[in-house]
């Protein structure tokens, strides 16, 4: 029953985007997000749409996977759109009852919707083409400079990858314990919210116990293999830039420059 939940949403494919260094993708996504909030005219929209389409084509990931994330923000989009449409003061276009639509309102609502939709699509391209482990690796390496400021970058990255690694295991465990308690007559479906919460106890207690047991086992296994934190630790697959990564950086910068030019000129 819980088996069908997919996590992280990595979509395996053999594309240039998949092969790109995760640091490049993180940087590119950051620039892309900044650009989304910089543009304010038609030319900007056109340029960003064009680039987005090119990247989508390059990723070889079906488009339906990218818009999947949009489902969860439909309500947010509607609320933001409606508020922007009716509550922006400016030149009056139409009005009925106490609601007024202004020219600025239409513009704001359109821009806001485009920004949010593009934001979701753009960031899901990154998570669809990068495995969670690559992502944490990339983050760790990119933020390495912060260690000088006493930020435990390696530890945070390690925690992130362990947490991600454990999610499917805990889902499986939940499934198993649920079945075991259902076999003893437990009921997880009926009753009001308080009864439901109470009925969860036979599921949650064993789940916590098992999470602690696994954490303890993992800590011992790591220690047995001489894990001692990030200092002096080498990687099995160290991140190294190759020529395509450098070219990608140049392309991202070129993209950004054009966004700025379009904003300044028009």
């Amino acid at each position: 029953m819980l088996r069908d939940i997919t996590l992280g949403q990595y979509y395996p494919a053999d594309s240039l985007l998949h092969k790109l260094d995760p640091r490049v993708k993180l940087f590119g996504t950051m620039i892309y997000i900044i650009s989304l909030f910089l543009f304010d005219n038609l030319w900007g929209i056109l340029w960003i749409t064009l680039s987005l389409v090119a990247v989508i084509r390059m990723s070889k990931v079906p488009f339906s996977f990218m818009i999947r994330g949009l489902r969860s923000i439909v309500i947010l989009l509607l609320v933001a759109g409606v508020f922007n449409l009716f509550l922006t003061p400016g030149e009056k276009l139409a009005s009925f009852w106490i609601l007024t639509i202004t020219k600025e309102g239409v513009k704001n609502a359109t821009l806001m919707t485009i920004r949010m939709v593009y934001l979701i699509i753009g960031t899901s391209i990154m998570t669809l083409t990068t495995t969670p482990n690559q992502l944490t690796d990339g983050l760790e390496k990119s933020l390495h400079g912060l260690t000088k400021l006493n930020v435990p970058v390696h530890e945070i990255a390690m925690m992130m990858s362990i947490a991600l690694r454990f999610i499917p295991i805990l889902i499986e465990e939940t499934d198993k314990i649920m079945k075991a308690q259902m076999a003893r007559g437990a009921d997880f479906e009926s009753g009001n919210i308080f009864q439901k919460a109470k009925n969860m106890v036979p599921l949650l207690v064993p789940l916590f116990v098992s999470a602690f047991r696994r954490a303890y086992d993992l800590a011992q296994a790591m220690e047995a293999r001489c894990y001692h934190g990030g200092e002096g630790r080498t990687k099995m697959k160290p991140l190294q830039y190759v020529s395509r990564d450098r070219n990608a950086y140049l392309l991202i910068l070129a993209f950004f420059v054009i966004v700025i030019v379009l904003k300044v000129v028009f």
Partner: protein
């Protein structure tokens, strides 16, 4: 009165690219009052099969008849079925959750809607059956040793007095003594109450010593469904499935090959001993 599977097929992630057929047209009947062993290699589908028996997994196609009623009938009460067909999962101690041993074992009977007196009666009875010391009933189950936890968890299912008791690898991870104690306890309860016991295992020795009948599963299909003696005659086939016959079977076959006129159908050490003594006495 029996538990009957008719043409059961089960597919994981049916309809997607990741579809795996775990059970492939299974037809089998588990008559009342038998002690049945189900053996199969890891991933053969044996755990999936037994989870069908109390409706925790619904078959992709086929039907299951319990005491003449189809359990997939929309009006059939799954809750009722689950009190009739008890299921002990692998590592059952991982499901303990209550603050005391007593409360944990009483969880099942309470869900059956029994009154306090009956709940107490069944709880103590089940704890006694698994050989759990009564003075530890008010201890937290998390303070017990692994073997004791396992007993408490098994008692938690037995307290519901299921007519059919299914156990999925109940001895995994126990030492030999703990293993024998649990299996002996199951056999004893089986003989005393006449319940049906379905024991899932990949240890031939366990199954050979206790089961009346063995069902061998390989790649989601039933290969053999017969008495231990007959099934272990096919020890070469069992090896091909990644299983093995009890060591005694190999020993007797080797003896025969070496020229001793022994019968090779002994499946337990006791039977082998009797067979050899008989032979020596005749000589």
């Amino acid at each position: 009165m029996a538990l009957e599977l008719r043409d059961i097929t089960y597919k994981y992630s049916a309809g997607t690219a990741y579809e795996i057929t775990a059970l492939d047209h299974i037809n089998v009947t588990f008559p009342d009052g038998e002690f049945i062993g189900i053996i199969g290699h890891t991933g053969s589908g044996k755990s999936t099969l037994v989870q069908h028996l109390n409706g925790l997994i619904k078959a992709t196609s086929g039907e299951i008849i319990y005491n003449g009623q189809n359990i997939y009938d929309p009006n059939y009460s799954m809750k009722e079925l689950r009190t009739q067909v008890g299921m002990v999962f692998q590592y059952p101690e991982h499901q303990l959750f209550e603050t005391t041993v007593y409360d944990d074992v009483a969880f099942g009977p309470k869900n059956q809607g029994l009154d306090d007196k009956d709940v107490a009666l069944r709880t103590y009875e089940a704890l006694e059956a698994v050989g759990f010391p009564q003075e530890l009933c008010d201890v937290s189950p998390f303070e017990l040793s692994g073997g004791q936890k396992r007993r408490v968890a098994i008692a938690g299912v037995m307290a519901m007095k299921p007519a059919v008791l299914i156990l999925d690898e109940p001895t995994a991870g126990l030492d030999p003594m703990g293993r024998d104690e649990i299996l002996n306890m199951l056999k004893e309860t089986h003989e005393r109450t006449g319940n049906t016991v379905i024991l899932v295992s990949h240890s031939m020795e366990d199954v050979a010593n206790y089961a009346d009948r063995i069902v061998v599963i390989d790649k989601g299909q039933i290969k053999y469904n017969d008495t231990p003696k007959k099934v272990f005659q096919h020890y070469k086939d069992l090896e091909a499935m990644g299983l093995a016959a009890p060591q005694v079977t190999y020993f007797m076959n080797d003896l025969k090959k070496a020229g001793m006129p022994v019968s090779t159908d002994a499946t337990t050490v006791q039977e082998a001993r009797d067979e050899i003594l008989k032979l020596m006495g005749r000589k």
